[in-house]
Amino acid sequence: MFRYTKLTLLREIGLWALALTFLAPFYFLVTTALKSDAEIYTTSPLAPPSSPDFSNFTAVLTASGNSNVVLGLVNSVIITAGSIVGLIALGSITGYVISRSTKRWSKGVYYLFLIAIILPGQLGAVPLYMGARTLGLTGSAWGLIVLYTGMLLPLSIFLYANFFRGLGTDYEEAATIDGASKTQIFSKVVFPMMAPATGTVTIFAGLIVWNDFFTSLIFLGGSSNQTLPVAMYYFIGSLVSQWNSIFAIVIVSMIPILALFLFAQKRFIQGFSGGLKG
């Protein structure tokens, strides 16, 4: 009944036209980044460069101080990976317990997490900053990992709890009868089963932490240990309308996440749609 007709072909062509228009910003991004300092003023923004000039990229990658992009990249990788590990460890175990518990408080705790998801962070930002400074957590990757883990934990717990709700307890019962301890059941039986939820948490948390600007701006402020978005912000702050240099750093900041996305796009999109359907 729904076969490929001439009309379908037309629809396909139309959607391609729409997609190319939709992605036009990327055309400007790449062509402008490859223009030399002179060419950004002499050529039309719509035209590609006469010959690609990569000097903008070398300038970006060799910048030092608080716009040190390479250091920012390393810091971002460490902080993102650390936060993901924390969110999987704490999120899975907490989500598991509150969704398997029949005690009355578990419902209350579930709502505690649900409300925390929508509380706007700005209200707690200054008290958090002062607390972190007292504990010596500002200006370090460790501090940000703890902070991001706490900030995104409600979302992680919510995703895990929803996943466990849809999962029967048969395997756990069988393992109990076979004599496995609660710790063994969780680590050997439950944890491997929740791989889809872990995937969703990794993608969500990874994207949010990797792209976050506000938190790292405040909590790493002043130190030369910056994350990539903050390094980009400082780098661009020193430029006025030098769009070729600005776009070179924008491209550098986008490449890791875009490469990961194109490499695992199915997982990404499933993570988004599957994790939220529940």
Partner: protein, 319 residues
């Protein structure tokens, strides 16, 4: 006190249980009605961290909303003065209106566009997965980075104006981001661009769960395309609509990064939102009490719409 004692006995239980496994099943069952799998205290570190980072910090911030604290030094409790100031200040009222406008129009346009694309990509298209990847691409990029691209596109000498001049529409060319009338619309374009792919993916997943047979049956019974969409497809994707709109509105009400990169709230406060105002009051102007009060208003608005949204989309029976 009882809680800590209980946790200790349970911990001891757990260490013994490794060796005395056979007794476990009976023991667990006999407790009946309580936790069957895992120990309840496993949840404690998570609960403690969330309470500390979300509730304690927000609570302290909320308390400062009723003070004249500047961020350092001593302060006085001033009651509702900060809130009165908000509702007397045209910039903050403007920020409130801008926040609501941006959140609701970006969710509406982004969701309609996402739904249209999802419907277009639904079934039989040969390149639907490539197209889906392309439309989704802006979602994975940082709002800060995408805002810089658009800042150039809307620049006075940028692609849009150059294009308009080249087709002889000189009069339409304007400094988009510096024009008090147009700046907010450029922000809206950037927000929609970043969120359409997200809505599309949620709708595609929703559409995939609508059985082909029902759509076919409706088509055979003579339902036209619109009737099929309105009576068959839409009811089937209602949960997807609920999730995409709720998340979109909560995200939209907090919008911060793109505005800081695009306009910084200008020109003359035309694109100021609650989130940018909170930041400026609390961190740049040293009016932490006022910033906290504004953040509290923002929190109440977000909670209000999140609850309404849940009610509306949950309780809707098949009509």
């Amino acid at each position: 006190m009882t809680a800590t004692m209980q946790s200790k006995t349970e911990a001891a239980d757990a260490s013994r249980r490794g060796r005395r496994a056979p007794g476990t099943a009976r023991k667990v069952r006999s407790r009946g009605g309580s936790l069957q799998f895992g120990h309840w205290w496993w949840a404690l570190p998570g609960i403690a961290l969330v309470i500390a980072i979300h509730y304690v910090a927000t609570g302290i911030g909320g308390y400062f909303a009723f003070t004249n604290w500047t961020g350092i030094g001593s302060f006085k409790v001033v009651g509702l003065a900060n809130f009165e100031a908000i509702f007397k200040d045209p910039t903050k009222l403007g920020a409130l209106m801008n926040t609501l406008f941006l959140a609701f129009s970006s969710v509406f346009i982004g969701n309609v566009a996402g739904l249209v694309i999802a419907l277009g990509l639904n079934r039989v298209l040969k390149t639907r997965y490539i197209l889906r990847t392309l439309f989704f691409m802006p979602v994975v990029l940082s709002p800060l980075a995408t805002a810089y691209i658009w800042k150039y596109i809307f620049d006075f000498d940028g692609p849009i104006n150059v294009f308009l001049r080249s087709i002889g529409a000189e009069d339409l060319a304007k400094p988009w981001l510096a024009d008090p009338q147009w700046a907010i619309w450029t922000v809206l374009v950037v927000l929609v661009w970043g969120s359409t792919g997200f809505a599309m993916v949620i709708f595609m997943a929703g559409l995939a769960s609508v059985p082909v047979e029902i759509e076919e049956a409706a088509a055979i019974d003579g339902a036209n395309l619109w009737q099929r969409f309105w009576n068959v497809t839409l009811p089937g994707i209602r949960p997807a609509v609920a999730i995409a709109t709720t998340l979109g509105i909560v995200q939209g009400l907090r919008v911060f990064d793109p505005i800081m990169a695009l306009t910084g709230g200008g020109p003359a406060g035309a694109t100021e939102t609650l989130a940018t105002q909170v930041y400026k009051q609390a961190f740049a102007l040293g009016n932490f009490g006022g910033g906290a009060a504004l953040a509290l208003v923002l929190a109440v608005i977000i909670l209000f719409f999140a609850v309404i949204q849940q009610r509306l989309t949950r309780s809707n029976p098949e009509d």
